[in-house]
Structure formats: C-alpha cells, structure tokens
Amino acid sequence: MKKITIDPITRLEGHGKITIFLNDDGSVANVYFQVPELRGFEKFCEGRPAEDMPQITQRICGVCPEAHHMAATKALDDLFHVEPTSTARKLRELLYSAFYVTDHTTHFYILASPDFVMGPDAPPAERNILGVIAKVGLELGGAVINTRKQNHWIIQTVGGRPINPCFGLPGGVSRAITEEERKQIEEIAKQSVEFGKLSLKLFDDVVLKNKAYLDMILSETFTQRSYNMGLVDEKNRVNFYDGKVRVVGPDGKEFCKYAPREYLDHIAEHVEPWTYLKFPYLKKIGWKGFIDGKDSGVYRATPLSRLNAADGMATPLAQAEYEKMYSTLGGKPVNYTLATHWARLIELLYAAERLLELSRDPEITSPNIRNIPTAKPDEGVGIVEAPRGTLTHHYITDERGVIKKCNLIVGTTNNYAPLFMSIKKAAEDFIKPGVKITEGLLNRIEMAWRPYDPCASCATHALPGQLPLEVTIYDAQGNELKRLSRGIS
C-alpha cells in the first residue's frame, strides 16, 4: 500500500492534512482529510458573561469574525428575550452585507478565479491573482482592492473595529451612524453593485463561454448529490442575517425547515478518532458514512446549497442572475460543485444590492439603536448564514447571564463530510493506475474542495493563489518513491 500525504493544505479551524492511500496497482484505496487542531470554545466559554460572547467567539475565526459576532448577538437577543430596534437590526444587516461583499470578493478573485482565468494547467507561478490581473487588466485589480478596502471601512465605521467588531448587544447595537457616514456607505454600495455586475460578466466571458470549462463544471467528477442547507426569509428567498433554515434534498424537494430554537431536532454530529473536527449530519436521516444521495444525512451549506435551498433572491439583479444560472445548468437543484463559484458571485451581487437598499433606508441613521433587556436570561440560539455555511450558536446561562453551556456548529464544519467526499471522488477519478501524477492533476484535486472555501482559505493564504501542496509517495515498506511539490524550489 502506498501513502500520499498533502500536509499542510490549509486551515479550517486550524491546519489541514490530506492522506491518500494507494493500492499496489496505483489506484486509490482510500482518502482521509484530517483537521489536526482544536481550541475548545464550547468548554472555555463556560463561566463567561453572556454579553461578552460576540467578542469572545469571534476569535474562533479572524477571517469571518463578523459572522460569529452576529450569530452570538442574535443568540443574546433570544437569551435575554429582547427584540433589537428596527434600526439596530438594519445596521447589523448592513454591516453583514458589507462583510459578504469583501469576503466573497476575496475568495473569488484571489482563490478561485486563477483556475478559470489562467486555466487549471497553467504554471503555478502564473496561476495566481497577479496572473489574473495581468491577463484581465489592472483596472480590475484596482477594483478588487478598492471593493475590499471600502467595505472594510464600512465594517469599522458601523462595527467599531476593522477586524473583530465590538458593536453587538442584546437588543441592539452600540453605535448609531451619522448622515455623513450614510452617504459614504451609499456611495460604496453603488460601486459594489457595479463590481458585482462586472464580476458576473467576467464569469460569463471567461468560464461560461469556454466549452472546456463548462464541460468540467458538468462532469461527474465534480458532481455531488447531497442535501442543501440555507437560511431563507418568509418568502423562501436567500437571507444571510435572519430567517429559518431550509433543507432541500438532492431531488430539489423541501426536506425540512426549522427555526433556530429547533436546530437540535434536525442536526447531529458524528465523531471520528482520527480528526479533531466533528461531522454534522441530518439527524432524521442519520449518519451513514461518507456517501451522498437521499438516504445519507450528509448535507452541504455553501453558496450553491443556499441558492438550491431557496426559491429565489430578494433583490432584482441577483434574481435575474439566479434564473440565468438555473436555466443554463438545467434547472434546480444544481449538484455541480464547481457551480458554487457562480453561486458565490450571485450572492456577492445580492449582498451589494442589499447594502444599497439598507444605506437608503430612512431609518438607518435613527439614534434609536438599543432596547434594554428587562427579562431574566436563560437560553438562546442564534443562527446566521456565514459565507462558509450555516452558523449556529447556542447558549444556556444562569439567571445572572453567565454561560453554563455553549454549543457551536460552525460554518465550515457543516461541510466537513461533503468536502471530504469531493476530495475522495476527484482523487479516485484522477489518480489511476499508470497515470503520472502531475502538478496540474493535483490542482484538479484541489479544485474539488476550493469551491467550499474552507475557512481562512480567503484573503490570507493565497497571495500566490495556490495552497502549499506536496505529495510524497511511499511504497509498501514506507520508502519514499517520489516527491512532487508545488512552488518549492
């Protein structure tokens, strides 16, 4: 038996490690995807004041602290039995929309686009954001940097800090915005909408008009028929900040729809001894292992699954793009993993449109930003849609509002099993007896999981646009036969 280890790939909660075992004939025997880190927030949040949870839990992830801050703040509303004021609710969603614009922009341009713009077999030295800018134009590069910077300014202005905001409180937010600030936000939102349109046009020109890419999107290797999860509003449209969690099957039919408080009726987590991360699944179906289909409890919580789980988008331009995607790819649901990139851009446009709507809301500059809770705290659940999946925070406190129990089901964790299965399927299809293992081949395996954007694979890890990847092949006695590495001289 041969063993291939890809270590470290990227971080989820920590770093990641892929091990591929080969049979003697060179075919894939099995694949393991391990997460070698744990920090234990579910335990050490015990004893902390509940109101500090938005700021404590956002240290789970420095890439999407806004998502944890928001889920925690919503859990506090529930815990303290207080509704946020209408303006506070809108300010939260406004910040969250700006966050989505930055996050999706980062992922698509820095991580995903090099594969399509430069091609999966382009040399790694070119297959990165700098290569993309060189090919598509400096103007676009400037727009990417500007969109990120401007929306970070919104996050700092509304949330108090550029990384790790501090504004969330049960019943509201800590700071109102001025008319001056509102105007600037509106201006940034307008530019972001244009940027969203530009991004979809780029996707259309570069990917959809290229038959080879379209064929790759539609190929069986990159197809997975799992359940789809996403937060929806009262009209079953995609919403990132609030609503109910809807799950539709691989056949497109609604399987369940639940309010945050009901999450334990629907979600359970499986433990394996070789990894620190758990595997969530649909409780009513059960854990059946790493398999897809209707009879397996595995679900996905990604941009694509959110669009699959919804009936549409709540803003006009995004809705038109939503319809175009489904008509192009043969109707709902779309089970092609690579279409996740397309879905992410539709979400980017939606977030920008929503940001614009909220920036023009007459209530948005109201000073009425807080309701003071009066009821005794006891238990609360908060759910938001993090860019990398449905995020659930659940707290139980004593009557002083001190955390007694805390449970967290975090964005990327939802996708652990499907991510694993996508890697395995790609490895099995690409690594075959007699096929030389090349750099481009490894990149195709990587392309199977990049759509999930496993946490922190965003802004940071990918200046050159690629992950560190090294494959070492051992023979049955553990002797090194071959070493293949990318970008390592």
Partner: protein
C-alpha cells in the same frame, strides 16, 4: 543592501493576525521592496521541510502569531527560533495566550468531554475521542497531541520583541515593520506600540472623578456619549491596558476589554486592573465593597480575558 529575510507563522490562532498583517494595504509593496518572505504557510508555497533545511540564524526575523496549544505549535516555535535572528511574538495569542488561553480554566479531558460527548448535538454513545495515532484499514493516521495547558510563545522560546493586540492595529504592525526595515531597533524585550501608557491616555472621553458605587454590564444601560465609561460604572479595561490602538472600542460606546496587554512595567495585567479598581470603589465599608465587587460576574475571566497563560495564575487547578 541585502533584502531582509522574513518568516511568518501561525500556531494556535484564528487567522486574524494574518488578516492584520495584510491590513497594511498598499504599504505591503514598500515592504516587498526591502524584504523577502522566506516562509509563510498561509501565503506562500513553503513546507516545514524547507524550514528544516535552512541554516540556523539564516532568517532575519520571524513574526510568530498564535499560542502554543499542541505539539506541532511547540515544534514549530523551536524550529523557527533556531532559524531566526529575531523572534517576534506578533499579536495577543503569542504574547499572552489571548482568548484560546481561556482554556486554561479547564484541561484536555474536560474540553474533550464537552466537545466530543456532552454537547447536545453530538451523537457519540461509544465516547470516541480523537487520538494522536489511529489505525485505519489502509494504514495509520496521525494528528498532533493536544496539550493540557496553553502556553505563550515566551514560555516556549526566547522572544526578542512583542507586537500587542487582538489583532494588532494597522499602525502598530507598521511601527514594528518600520523598525525592522530601518534597522533602528528598540532595546530587546520592547513591546512595540505607539504608547507605553494606558488606553485612557488616548481616549477622547471626558474624565473627572472615578468613584464607583455600582458596576453595570454593557447591556444594562446606554452610556452617556462623552463621559468616561469607567466613571459611569462600566468595567472598562482601558485604565490597565496599553494604548496604541486608538481607543477604538470606547469610541464605539463599548468598554475596552484589554487586548493590548499590560501597560509598561506591569507583569500581571489582571492584578493591576484589580488593584486599580479597588482604589476607585467609593466605599470604606468592607461589606459594601464586597457587594459592589459581586456585581462583576466573572472576575477571573474578565481580568485575564487575554492574559491567563501569561499571568501569575497561568491556569486553574483541575482536581
């Protein structure tokens, strides 16, 4: 002049310090003119094996973020120390242990019990826990050992400088990088920040007399817009926290939580805050003082929010 060789690494951290490193925006181009990044697993294609091959002290400076939570973190700290002329604890986790350091109120077993067995969504009747080595049908799989206690970088290897903050603000990061680029380095052991004084020093809120009769939690009342938060009874940590951040949280009407660590010369930030608070409680009656202090729901977790592993306490004793 030869370019500076810089290594960046993350141990037990959240990625926020990586984002903070990038937050110097266009200045990153200036950095690229004078420095080469020789190791950055998040940003570039280098492997652990490449670091092992480097001669000792061949890296000019290592910016190390994250706490020491498991054996891999510890191994990399020792390795990078050996290869680097200067070792910098970048951010609160490497400096003091930070939020992941709150795990020192518990230990490995209590954390594992909670995460893998007790949490209401977990279905694990056989009580399976992750193990460092596991036999699977195809072979053996390994993951690093999770330690009982979170350590700081300074408790693990010799550290030359510290950059504080969770994460460090853009201007703090640039202050450190400028010192490195220019070669005008401060004395060894310096905590690099724009201030050696407290956050209060740079907070625009009006300070008058600090006399506290009652502590309020942030959700209990709306603060007056311009008055010092501590004087209003909010447990604002600015008085015992190093400045340099620009007092961002108090300006967003929220108390400082202490992420820039202790002010110059103070070893234990929590003890310093406690003694500062004791001096401003407006009572001489021991019973009344006790009652006022009882309004603080989680003193240890609040005073040592970012610094438990680095404090004189270091951890709780688990029986």
């Amino acid at each position: 002049m030869a370019k500076l060789k810089i290594a960046l690494y993350w141990a037990a951290s959240c990625g926020g310090c990586e984002i903070a490193t990038l937050a110097i925006h266009e200045k990153i181009l200036k950095l690229a003119e004078v420095a080469d990044i020789v190791f950055w697993p998040v940003g570039m294609d280098f492997k652990y094996a490449d670091v092992e091959k480097m001669p000792d002290k061949s890296v000019d400076v290592c910016l190390f973020n994250g706490a020491i939570r498991n054996e891999e973190n510890e191994h990399m700290a020792h390795l990078l120390r050996a290869k680097s002329k200067l070792m910098i604890a970048y951010g609160s986790c490497a400096y003091e242990g930070c939020i992941p350091g709150l795990a020192n109120f518990y230990n490995r077993q209590t954390i594992f019990d909670r995460v893998y067995v007790e949490t209401p969504s977990t279905d694990n009747p056989k009580r399976i826990y992750p193990k460092t080595k596991v036999k699977v049908p195809e072979g053996e799989l390994e993951i690093p050992e999770f330690y009982d206690t979170v350590k700081t970088l300074r408790q693990t290897v010799n550290v030359d400088y510290v950059v504080p903050g969770c994460p460090p603000e853009e201007k703090t990061t640039w202050l450190a990088l400028e010192a490195l680029i220019s070669g005008k380095l401060p004395p060894k052991g310096t905590v690099i920040s724009h201030s050696v004084k407290a956050v209060c020093d740079e907070c625009p809120r009006k300070k008058e007399e600090k006399k506290i009769k009652k502590f309020y939690r942030p959700y209990e009342k709306i603060p007056e817009p311009e008055k010092c938060l501590l004087e209003q009874g909010f447990l604002c940590y600015g008085i015992a926290t190093r400045g340099g951040c620009g007092a961002l949280c108090p300006q967003a009407n929220m108390p400082c939580t202490g992420c820039y660590g202790p002010v110059e010369g103070v070893i234990d930030q929590g003890a310093h805050f406690l003694s500062a608070l004791a001096s401003i409680i407006d009572s001489n009656d021991p019973e009344e003082i006790q009652k006022i202090i009882d309004d603080i729901p989680d003193p240890a977790g609040t005073f040592y929010r970012y610094s438990l592993p680095d404090s004189l306490l270091r951890r709780a004793i688990i029986k």
